[in-house]
C-alpha cells in the first residue's frame, strides 16, 4: 500500500513539474523566445537529469534547451525571474556581451549638440532629427490605398539578381582542373584503364548582399520604397540577403522581410523598428553594425548597400572612419541617395562628403528606373 501511495505521489509531482515547465514556456514565448514544443520536451528531459528542486538547475536546464541565440538570453533571464519570482541564480554576464547588446539595440548616447548639416533642413525635420530619440513605431499599413497600389505594382516587377562569386565547392565540367577521384572511379569501371580525364571547376554561388536602410525622419518619403526594394531582394535570394535599418538604432529586419507578402513584411518591419522617423547617427550605427555583424562575417566579401541621404547629426569623422573600415571588409560598397536623382544635385552634406571616398558605386534611388539601375549595379558589383 505504501509503495502505491508513494508512486501516486511521485506521479503527482511529475505532473506538477510538467505543468510548471509548460507554464514557463508560455511565459517565455510571450517574452519573445521561440520555445518550440520539441525544445520544451528537451527541457523536461534535462530537468529529469538534474535536481528539480534546485532553482539553479532548473534555470540552466531551461536556458540550455529553450534558448537558441545570445539575443534570447536576456529575455530568458527576465522571464525566468518573473515566473519563478526572483529565485534565479546570478548569471555571469561580462561586459563585452553586454556592450555588444547595447551597441545593437540601445539608443546611442547623445553627447554633442553641433549640427552644421542640419541648417539646410526644414525646421520640422530639424526637430525630428533632434537628440531626443523619437521612439515610436510607425504603422506602415496606414499608407493611402492609391499609394500602396502604386508601390505594389512598381515593386512586383523588380527581381534583383544576386551578384555571384566562385565558391570552394566544385562541380563536374568539361573544363577546369582534373578531378582525380572521378577520373579513377571511372578508370575502375574500365578495368583500371584511364580512358579519359574528368574535370571540375568551382561552382558559382550568390554573394551576400547587405542592405542598410536609413529610416530616419529625413528619409521618410523614401523609406517605404527602399524597404520594398529590400523585400524584393530578400525574396529573390532569402539565404544570402540581409536587411538592417539604421536611424538612432540598428535593427535587423531580415526575418520580417522573409514574409512572402510585401505588405505584411513591411508591417512586421514597422513593428520591429523602434526608431522610425527619428534622428540619424549613421556613423555610430554603422560602427554598431560592423562591431556586431560586419566584422564577424556579415560584411566580409559582401556587397553592402547603404541607403541614406547622408544627413549626419554628429561629427562626420566617425562616419568617415567606419566607411573606410567597411570598405576594407566588403567586396564593394554601394551608396544609394534618393536626392541624387534630382537635377543639379551635389553631394554637399557633411555625411556624404565624408563617406564618398570609401564608396565604390554612388547611385540614385528615387524612382522605379533608379531602382532597376540599382539592381543592375548590385548584380555586377
Amino acid at each position: 500500500m505504501t509503495s502505491l501511495a508513494f508512486s501516486a505521489a511521485a506521479e503527482r509531482r511529475q505532473r506538477d513539474v510538467v505543468e510548471v515547465v509548460l507554464g514557463f514556456a508560455r511565459t517565455l514565448r510571450h517574452a519573445g523566445v521561440a520555445a518550440s514544443p520539441d525544445r520544451v520536451e528537451a527541457m523536461l528531459a534535462a530537468v529529469g537529469h538534474l535536481d528539480v528542486l534546485d532553482p539553479g538547475d532548473v534555470y540552466w536546464a531551461g536556458r540550455l534547451t529553450l534558448c537558441g541565440s545570445p539575443d534570447d538570453l536576456d529575455r530568458y533571464e527576465a522571464a525566468f525571474n518573473a515566473y519563478f519570482a526572483g529565485e534565479a541564480p546570478r548569471a555571469s554576464r561580462t561586459s563585452s556581451t553586454q556592450e555588444q547588446r547595447l551597441a545593437e539595440s540601445a539608443p546611442l548616447g547623445a553627447t554633442d549638440g553641433g549640427g552644421t548639416d542640419a541648417e539646410e533642413e526644414a525646421p520640422d525635420l530639424k526637430a525630428a532629427a533632434s537628440e531626443a530619440e523619437v521612439l515610436r513605431s510607425r504603422d506602415v499599413a496606414d499608407l493611402t490605398v492609391a499609394e500602396r497600389d502604386q508601390l505594389r505594382r512598381l515593386f512586383a516587377l523588380l527581381v534583383p539578381a544576386a551578384p555571384m562569386r566562385p565558391s570552394r565547392r566544385r562541380r563536374p565540367d568539361h573544363h577546369g582542373g582534373v578531378d582525380m577521384a572521378r577520373t579513377i572511379r571511372h578508370a575502375l569501371r574500365d578495368g583500371g584503364e584511364i580512358t579519359s580525364l574528368r574535370r571540375r571547376r568551382p561552382r558559382p554561388r550568390p554573394r551576400r548582399v547587405v542592405l542598410l536602410v536609413d529610416v530616419s525622419g529625413s528619409m521618410s518619403p523614401y523609406a517605404d520604397a527602399l524597404l520594398r526594394f529590400a523585400h524584393a531582394a530578400v525574396r529573390a535570394r532569402p539565404s544570402s540577403t540581409e536587411v538592417l535599418t539604421i536611424g538612432t538604432r540598428l535593427t535587423r529586419v531580415t526575418r520580417e522581410m522573409r514574409l512572402r507578402d510585401p505588405d505584411k513584411a513591411l508591417a512586421a518591419s514597422g513593428h520591429a523598428i523602434p526608431d522610425w522617423s527619428g534622428g540619424t547617427r549613421i556613423g555610430e550605427v554603422l560602427k554598431a553594425f560592423l562591431d556586431r555583424w560586419g566584422q564577424r562575417g556579415t560584411a566580409r566579401g559582401a556587397v553592402v548597400v547603404l541607403c541614406s541621404d547622408g544627413w549626419e547629426r554628429g561629427g562626420t569623422e566617425l562616419l568617415a572612419e567606419q566607411m573606410v573600415r567597411l570598405q576594407r571588409l566588403a567586396h564593394s560598397v554601394v551608396w544609394v541617395n534618393p536626392h541624387k536623382g534630382r537635377a543639379g544635385y551635389e553631394p554637399l552634406t557633411g555625411g556624404m562628403q565624408a563617406a564618398l571616398p570609401a564608396v565604390d558605386h554612388f547611385v540614385a534611388g528615387h524612382s522605379l528606373a533608379a531602382f532597376e539601375e540599382l539592381a543592375g549595379v548590385i548584380e555586377n558589383a
Partner: protein
C-alpha cells in the same frame, strides 16, 4: 534527484552523477568551467544531445571538447569546418589509388580469380579512408568536435543534421555504420553566420562568456604554473580592462595566456608599462586597437 519516466537512459557508469562532479573532473584536467558550462556538458553526456557552444573567439570552446575527452577517457575526432566542405572530406572516401594498384597487382599476378570476387575485393574496408565523422562513429564511444560550424555552408549543415539525428552513416558498397554509443558531439561557432535553427534545435545551446577575474587568474595559474601569482593577477586585471575598452577584437582567455607566457619568457615578474607595451602584440591583433591602448594614459591600464 527526481527521475521522470520520460528519460530513456541513465549515463553509463563512467559518467559523472551530477554537474558538480563533472566540474571537479574537468578542473582536474586543467579546464575550469563555471556552473552553466558544467551543467551544459553534464546534460550533453546524460541526454546524448550535441552541445552547441557559441562565444567570442578564445573563450575556450575547443578546449572544452578536449577536456571532456580527457575526463571521459574517450578519443577526440575533430572536424574543422570550412566553406565547400564535402562528404568525401567529412565522412569517408575510397582510396582510389590503392584500389587501382590492387587491380593491377591482381592482373600482374595473373590470378585466375573471377571478376566478381575481384570486384568485391575492391570495396573492402581496407580501401576505405575514414574521415572524422565516420571515425567518431566507428571509434565509439568518442568525442566528436565539429569546430567552427558557422564556416561551413548550408549544404553541409543539412547533412550534419541528418547525421546528428540517428548517428548512422550508410556506405552503399559496404553497409551501414552505427555508433554503439552515440558520440559526445561538441559544435562550436564564432557566430560569423547564423546557424540554421533546425540544427540548433537538436542541440543544447550555451553561450560562453569571458571568465570573471578570479576564474581567469585561476586558469592562468593552472595552465601556466611557471607564471607568478602577482603576474597572473596583473595580466588578468589588464585583460579585463582591455575588454572593457571599445576594441575591435577584445582579448579572450587564449590571448591572456599568450600574454602571460610572453611576459614570463621576457623574464618579467610583474607587469610594468614598458614590458606591457613591448608585448602588446600578444593580446591585440589590430593596429587600431594598439593605437587606442597606446593613447591611454599608462596608469589607466596598469593601475
Amino acid at each position: 534527484m527526481s527521475q521522470p519516466t520520460a528519460v530513456p537512459s541513465r549515463p553509463d557508469a563512467a559518467s559523472p552523477a551530477d554537474p558538480q562532479e563533472l566540474a571537479a573532473a574537468l578542473e582536474a584536467t586543467g579546464y575550469l568551467p563555471d556552473e552553466g558550462l558544467a551543467t551544459a556538458a553534464f546534460l550533453a553526456l546524460a541526454m546524448h544531445r550535441p552541445l552547441f557552444l557559441e562565444g567570442e573567439a578564445g573563450v575556450g570552446k575547443t578546449a572544452l571538447a578536449h577536456a571532456l575527452a580527457e575526463v571521459t577517457g574517450r578519443p577526440v575526432h575533430r572536424l574543422q569546418c570550412y566553406e565547400g566542405l564535402e562528404a568525401s572530406q567529412a565522412l569517408y572516401d575510397w582510396d582510389f589509388g590503392r584500389q587501382l594498384l590492387h587491380l593491377r597487382a591482381a592482373e600482374a599476378a595473373g590470378e585466375g580469380a573471377d571478376t566478381a570476387t575481384l570486384e568485391a575485393g575492391l570495396y573492402d574496408r581496407r580501401f576505405l579512408l575514414a574521415r572524422p565523422l565516420l571515425q567518431a562513429l566507428e571509434d565509439s564511444p568518442s568525442v566528436l568536435l565539429v569546430d567552427e560550424v558557422d564556416r561551413a555552408d548550408d549544404e553541409f549543415e543539412a547533412f550534419l543534421l541528418e547525421l546528428l539525428s540517428d548517428y548512422t552513416i550508410s556506405i552503399p558498397e559496404l553497409g551501414t555504420v552505427r555508433a554503439e554509443v552515440p558520440p559526445l558531439v561538441v559544435l562550436t561557432s564564432n557566430r560569423t553566420r547564423e546557424v540554421h535553427d533546425a540544427l540548433k534545435r537538436r542541440c543544447l545551446y550555451h553561450w560562453l562568456e569571458h571568465p570573471d577575474f578570479e576564474r581567469e587568474v585561476a586558469i592562468l595559474r593552472r595552465r601556466l604554473p611557471q607564471v607568478t601569482e602577482d603576474l597572473a593577477r596583473q595580466v588578468a586585471r589588464a585583460t579585463a580592462k582591455l575588454r572593457s575598452l571599445d576594441l575591435l577584437k577584445p582579448p579572450g582567455i587564449a590571448e591572456a595566456m599568450d600574454w602571460a607566457t610572453a611576459l614570463h619568457t621576457l623574464g618579467a615578474r610583474e607587469l610594468d608599462p614598458d614590458t606591457a607595451a613591448r608585448t602588446l602584440g600578444a593580446v591585440l591583433k589590430y593596429r587600431e586597437d594598439t593605437d587606442r591602448v597606446h593613447a591611454l594614459t599608462r596608469g589607466a591600464l596598469f593601475g
